[in-house]
Symmetry: D2
Subunit: 409 residues, 4 copies
């Protein structure tokens, strides 16, 4: 890979910035990886098991630590409860911290027990609802133990057929349950409320879109924010606009990064529409620096950036490296935008000039800039190559035979 | 058409109702027709002009009056300003009332002046924004003059390319403008805020979904409510769920009825997916009678039901008759649902029984019931046949040659 | 349920038919049920196991026989190989025939062996392709043994990322493989080639749409036909038009019936959009009787009607009863269409009259007609009620505890 | 813009190519511009008229000539009949050739006469069908006169409501009409058959997808090929796969380039999903050089690359410059792919390596390479800047006031 920073420097100069500013921004980038991203996953048709899948939460942290040693920005790992339940969470936390990994968002599981066939916190049976709430409260406790400030909530709740349940009642149950959990959260902890158009529910989903997540968060209080998963929208929906809207309201809590061409395909982020990913980061990078919009700026600076993908057929650690590189490239291009030129074009109502201000950044090859960032952080220039050189894949395949590892259960 | 009410009576009995209750509900149904629904419309490729299109707002009222004399529930007509601007709105109102027609929602036009190329209330230029707001304020005044309690707002505002404008700034402009209009509304007047996924804007639309309409209405105050146009959603979006959510919040203001298979096709309501229309009415009918949810009940009883269609190739008045009959059938089936059985199935977690409670109503042939409703109201049993018998189509085609009438301008 | 046939008779008379003609048509209707429709299924998130799931292929036939005793048109059962592999297929056939069930389409499985991670007949490795072809040839042999004339082919083949494989090469491999299988089929056997937009492949699917299935069938020969699964299309695609197009070419081989609101949701057929199902049957019923289009008529009369659904949360046998009733209602309404009126309206370019000719049939309550059909066949009027009365559900739940049954594996 | 070719040369070396090879490929690129792309266009809501719109076909050629003097690859202009009808087509041709512009594809118009309300070649009335066919035959004659080898056919034909017309009859009429036109074409002329999911027809479109266009072309003969418009597909459809499939059959005739986020938005090509455009060009560039697939290679080398866009709010000539630059960048990146590495990864079943072979090319900044290409052709490095310098926009705005120009009529 070239060491030539020429065109990057040119674009930075145009944008009124310099290389050290850019390196500073990029070194501060933070991407959380999901513990389940290292394990087996698949479709309803088949889970293809790979050798090398971690067999314990500790091995997941080993993998995350190796990954972080290559990319530098994968500073934390999200946990899924009960998949990552251990006897001693403080020990898990110490194990992680010893490897320079922070334990991140706590993700409850409210979809794999038999009782949850018709829902969890929206279930028609109060006993099931209470079981769900207990699990959520348990996760608040775990978050406290591992010093995580994030409770990341996704609900599979919904219905498959009209008439199966009462939609207004389900909304009431949902609000009542989250109120109890919200009230149990300590100061400083945030609840991230995810939404999804469909799957596994096929008629209605109780959090179907950002509108309902926003509505509920707005009722709950300032510690409740919306989580945007890139694969959870209907076709055509403008995700970067949702991001912008939530920023102005201080309600953008975090992302689940992945990409999709059809449904919730959970492919590697940036692999289907890298330009969309760039546009999302443009909104975030602009808000980070926007002194005139204090709410958006504060919000942007606290966004939780998390990967949530299923690597059904490709090697997992390389897939995460590729994903992180895509996120780094998207952010790097976003900070290259000449915002003064952009603003001027918008004020002049010059449609094409405003568009070109984005394209000039997007067309720039930022790979040399990111290589330089890694060098400054004491890492290799190319994490994919460094992984191959590390021999780690061979090592884990030897140690962990196919079928012995953990997956989505 | 059969006069046989047998299966309707059977279903009503199952649902614990009787025929006179049903007739009462159906006689109270109200559908507003759009003044522009009588005139020429088309696609960007071609507007096919029909003989018989009204040449003045008064002729539109003539058509509405004739329509109402056949169907009985088309009690009001929505106006579009400036398409329906007249020197003396009070005279127009009297003309209408003399024909038993009420003037309904006032619909401003903020998309056909040359200044609006890049938006109206979200335009980057303050002068254009002010012009837009002035037009909205003028419409509030017109609403007062014609004794209409509804200001129905659709904004074509949006952008075609990333970078064309700042999305957060546009939201701020939008909120500021609507605040001014809201504050100018008299007590008792409601602002209905429509949303639309896309078209005519093709990158971002400033009110893209119910979430943003809700968010803004929630800030404005209790007189602002969301308007749901059935054709303005992404594929797969569950519209009846949006209806239910807005009902629980008291924020469902009204409908623009039409149907679509692809984009915003503006076909006759119920012509693509009549079952979806039935499910929407099921939510509305249930809320109307739900004593346990006062907010939803109050809201449901004040919903403004309005048609908004483009009859590009079919005869307009018959198209409106067909549309109204579809709305009547949907509502009639919705009130036939055995709600006790539905509720019991839901409590029993019997998925198929809950589903069947809806199907039993949907499968019932309600045409005889609606014929009976019309007879009770002194109308003919079959409005389509009555229209043919009336000779009105021949009359207007003679009086109003193709090309002489009004369309979308 | 009412015994009143009044409105049906009225509509039949309008259409120039009588009740005995209708009863004859309906008694001849044939729906094939899938062996896997009786067993556990789910999403990638969870398979909820039900008590009562059959434990052997023989028990699946027991369930199919019980079902057929209630509905009368479920005359055959599709087999999935190897899920339904038995030592002695002739014994299985005899077991079925003794219960008045015919063994229907043979469905190979080319997606659950570990070798198939990157495809089967399109796999880059010739060894995997040969294994796939061997399995297909084995299925031809099984079809011969069980006297089935149908080889029903669905391929999960595709890619998840651009660059993963060469799309033109994959097409060549696909054609070469099917040529070998086609040539191995005996006279009278038909190959049905299914297509699917996506899932489990998320970038490209090797048979993505009817166009490619048609193209390949057209090369293979007259015994190759296209199979239409209702859930395998992009949003908006007009399925009834695909049906009509394939009929004119004699290339419509069969259906996999189910319904969907989002992706390939595999819900009960007719549960999301019953009107679409009616329109599909309108094309089929019209072609069946169209003496002027011998190709379409011959084709329509040999279509294989098969259910392919996943009953994730509802009871399976009742779900199949509901599905079959939906198919019966759709077909019954389709044969009620007044085709002379329809044709006349079309010739007169009367858009609304043509549309209404379909609506008149669709609005008719055909439940009494279907009850009558069942009575003529010696069955109960209401199969759902008859199932409850039968005690069969209780019986199988007692005999077959949850988790003991077969699913998608 | 930087003159630094470093990273391009690096990538070319990796791919086993050199800079002169790349410059040769890029100088041979050919993009046809549409005559109507210079004029006013809009949505059904409003056509915003721009000063500078050409008032005659001759002025359209002036604009095309100016454009070509800046970009070098816009060598021909497509004509739309009757919008571009002149008394003497040979004079128009000479006028164009004197300005180094070739007259390209002839595009008939079968959607703007009043008779075409219910279709053209599929219309139920034979007289309308004959009128349509006459127009098509006239266009064949015009093509001969202007020495164009391309008849580019798009049909707005379709229906808005089920029952409006008989779908099988429409297909028969369509085939009969095209047979007559095909037979009238001289040797060497090609018929390009476009398809479109919807609009202006909203229930069925007679050429809805590539499958039907292929089917009909296959019957007509080798001079009939499919035209792919990037905006005419359902969401999710894999366009590059359609391209690949048609190439293997020798049936890919040409493109209508544009981009879309929602429906047929007709935005500038590459403005919504530039990565998809790159992937399409990857298929084309690979086939061009594929000695092992003679059919695909021959086909790829004869593809007609045409822009078809609506510039509703942006300046037209700059929009075309931007579009052409996007097409040049997509093609330039496509030829940079290291095909040996790609093939090797595919053979090794290394999913991520195959994917990365494409990404390595896509991430390269090809703007310096294209600047160099222009310099070699005697053009300025930056066509957008050159346009501003030319003063042409000011000139045409002065000469041609808003409203005086031609649009879609």
């Amino acid at each position: 890979m070239t060491r030539n920073l020429g065109s990057v420097e040119e674009q930075l100069e145009t944008a009124g910035r310099d290389i050290s500013w850019a390196l500073g921004k990029l070194q501060a980038q933070h991407i959380e990886v999901p513990s389940w991203g290292f394990g087996d996953s698949g479709t309803r048709f088949k889970v293809f098991q790979q050798a090398g899948a971690p067999r314990t939460p500790f091995e997941k942290i080993d993998d995350a630590a190796l990954l972080q040693s290559l990319v530098g920005c994968a500073k934390s790992i999200a946990l899924h409860i009960p998949w990552d339940t251990v006897d001693d969470f403080k020990a898990l936390r110490k194990y992680a911290e010893d490897r320079s990994i922070k334990l991140g968002a706590i993700n409850p599981n409210l979809f794999q027990d038999d009782e949850y066939k018709l829902g969890s916190i929206c279930h028609p049976d109060e006993a099931v609802r209470n079981k769900s709430i207990d699990h959520l409260l348990e996760c608040v406790e775990i978050a406290k133990q591992v010093d995580s400030g994030l409770l990341s909530l996704w609900f599979a709740d919904g219905t498959n057929y009209p008439g199966q349940d009462n939609l207004r009642d389900r909304k009431r149950r949902l609000e009542a349950a989250l109120r109890r959990v919200y009230d149990a959260m300590p100061e400083g902890m945030r609840m991230l409320v995810e939404y999804k158009l469909y799957e596994p529910a096929f008629y209605s989903t109780d959090f179907p879109d950002w509108g309902l997540s926003y509505l509920v968060c707005n009722k709950l209080g300032p510690q409740a924010q919306v989580l945007v998963d890139l694969g959870h929208h209907a076709h055509g929906v403008n995700i970067e606009q949702i991001v912008a809207m939530l920023l102005t309201e201080g309600r953008l809590g975090g992302f689940h990064f992945n990409d999709r061409k059809y449904g919730d395909d959970d492919l590697m982020v940036g692999s289907v529409n890298p330009y969309q990913l760039f546009l999302i980061y443009c909104e975030l990078a602009a808000a980070e620096d926007d002194e005139d919009d204090a709410v958006a700026q504060e919000c942007a600076r606290n966004v939780a950036y998390m990967i949530d993908q299923a690597h059904n057929i490709e090697l997992r650690i390389p897939a995460l490296i590729r994903s992180i590189m895509n996120l780094q490239e998207a952010y790097a291009k976003a900070i290259l935008v000449d915002r003064a030129a952009l603003k001027k074009a918008q004020e002049n109502q010059d449609v094409l000039a405003g568009h070109q201000a984005l394209l000039d950044a997007y067309s720039t090859d930022v790979r040399p800039l990111l290589a330089e960032t890694r060098v400054e952080m004491g890492l290799g220039r190319d994490p994919m190559e460094a992984y191959v050189q590390s021999g780690y894949q061979q090592k884990i395949e030897n140690e962990r035979p196919a079928g012995s590892g953990m997956g989505w259960s």
